[in-house]
Amino acid sequence: MSQTKADWLRSTYPKENDRLPSYTTISDMAVDPVYARDDLAAWTYDDNLSHPGQYPYTRGAYPSMYRGKLWTMRQFAGFGTAEDTNARFRFLLDHGQTGLSTAFDMPTLMGYDADHPRALGEVGREGVAASSIADMEALFSAIPLDQVTTSMTVNCTASIVLAMYFAVAERRGIPLTKLGGTIQNDMLKEFIAQKEWICPPQPSVRIVVDMMEFCAHEAPRWHPVSISGYHIREAGSTAAQELAFTLADGIGYVQAAIDRGVDVDTIARRLSFFFNIHNDFFEEIAKLRAARRMWAKIMRERFGAKDERSWMLRTHCQTAGCSLTAQQPINNVVRVAIQALAGVLGGTQSLHTNSMDETLALPNEQSVLVALRTQQIIAEETGVANIVDPLGGSYAIEALTDRLEREAFEYIQKIDELGGIIRAVELGYPQKEISEASYRYQQQFDRGERVMVGVNKYQVEDEPPMEILRIGADVERKQAQRVRERKQGREATVVKTALSAVKRAASDGANLMPPIIDAVKKDCTVGEIADVFRAVFGEYRDPAWV
């Protein structure tokens, strides 16, 4: 009979041979030399796992997972003008991607038109410029919106951009009930991590709930929010913090909807999630499994949701941008492949793989093609898509899953004690946790304790330059000109009336989506509608905590 693990570690394991003084995940979680039956003494298949597609969904949201349907290959794309991005969308679809994902430029994301002084230098640089409905029409030109699902990464101007998308669909004779897709619209994580905001947390959450309610009734296939951990992780959090703060944000939105009198099952089934996939292979797989199990428990036990679709956490994932290096960028292909594999083994519904050149610029065609092919190779050549939750039952994976769940629930309890996530955000609690974690990581990197191949180990002196994507200087000039011309081509009273209706709904508390949809159909711009939010709700300023 084998020794207990504790005895084996004490008497047989050759600790003196260990290469490093200690072994921890990138989140500073200590890992044992081996995991064994001792680690799962209180664990049962029925309580901790169940089968795939069964509460608590540890093994996967669906029974057949990728045997029935591969994850959606959905590459985040956007730059320059609507025409430039439309061409990239079609390039990616032609090469086999199965869903669209849209990156907008900073002015669009922050509520400024291309002709605004604050937009100077920023138009079309970090994503596509979209100031009004005409841009949305060009962006989705020749793309059948009733046949393809579209994700749009936009937050404080999500109501406006979604309204434009809906308006374009309606103009094409497509009912909103046929539209499938996602809009990120997760304002809580903006204050925590991504930092794109117009107004303070309370009115920002109000707008999110307006959109949740509107979509539940008018666009039931649409995901009105993508509760995100990706950015929280990119800001430097640990895996447990990413997990905890994301689910806490989800709890916040569900609670806000319930407080408004909305039935939980009405909105819960179309909540979607978005996680990071960082370098630590097993930790990331465990994190996704823990996320599903935690959310199922939260929805059924904390919120009393009855519909099993409310219990089911479904997620998009993106490989970690912050893990990529500017030095020897071809190595990033390897990092992304391994991260993508972790995402698949963790059971993601949808996946974006980063391009090798993203530490230097937005992806060029060659690099994004390699990133897409990475997913296709995993799907078609490795066999991992043919067994559901193949790592389930592994001592290490189950022990790590349990551990992450435990640590994440501790953070959620702390947030509850502070009065909930909105209060915690106002106090800066998650923001300060992330600052600490990111500073700790930097210190480890500086000391050489965290190796980044090519950066602090295995460096190369002179590297050949890479061909990178350049955004032409005329993009901004052209787009600003378009915006000015369109504004001049409208009837002033029509615009004024439409914006007044938005203002009234904002002040009165009526759902903002109908007047915003009407306003965008009348060619009101992102900036103009954002100005209404500024006027009614005030502008949030960065507290600038270090």
Partner: protein, 135 residues
Amino acid sequence: MAARPLRILVAKPGLDGHDRGAKVIARALRDAGFEVLYTGLHQTPEMIAEAAVQEDVDAIGLSILSGAHMTLFPAVISECVKRGIGDICIFGGGIVPPDDTAELLKQGVKRIFTPGATTQEIVDWLNQNVRPREA
């Protein structure tokens, strides 16, 4: 007479909200003994130059990951010149490809740190290249 610690302004110009690097550097510089002022996000070039004058800093560090660096670095330089502090040391980091770095150095930026630089490198460079500005 003991040399006074260098005063560094760490700033986030433009609409870019990625502040992980800026905050880590601000804190590392403080730990290394510099006096650091962090502007927070969404600063215009005017606001940054104004803060540099008001706070009487010796150098300005700009962090830009939004691709707008070819507009924002020169704009900050220009606003500094307008306010009579055109000789102030401007350095920075973020997502800046090598060709753009070369061009910015020609325009007067003193150093751009790429992702992967250690905080010690930045501390050492500041100590070697920045002097307290005379009042």
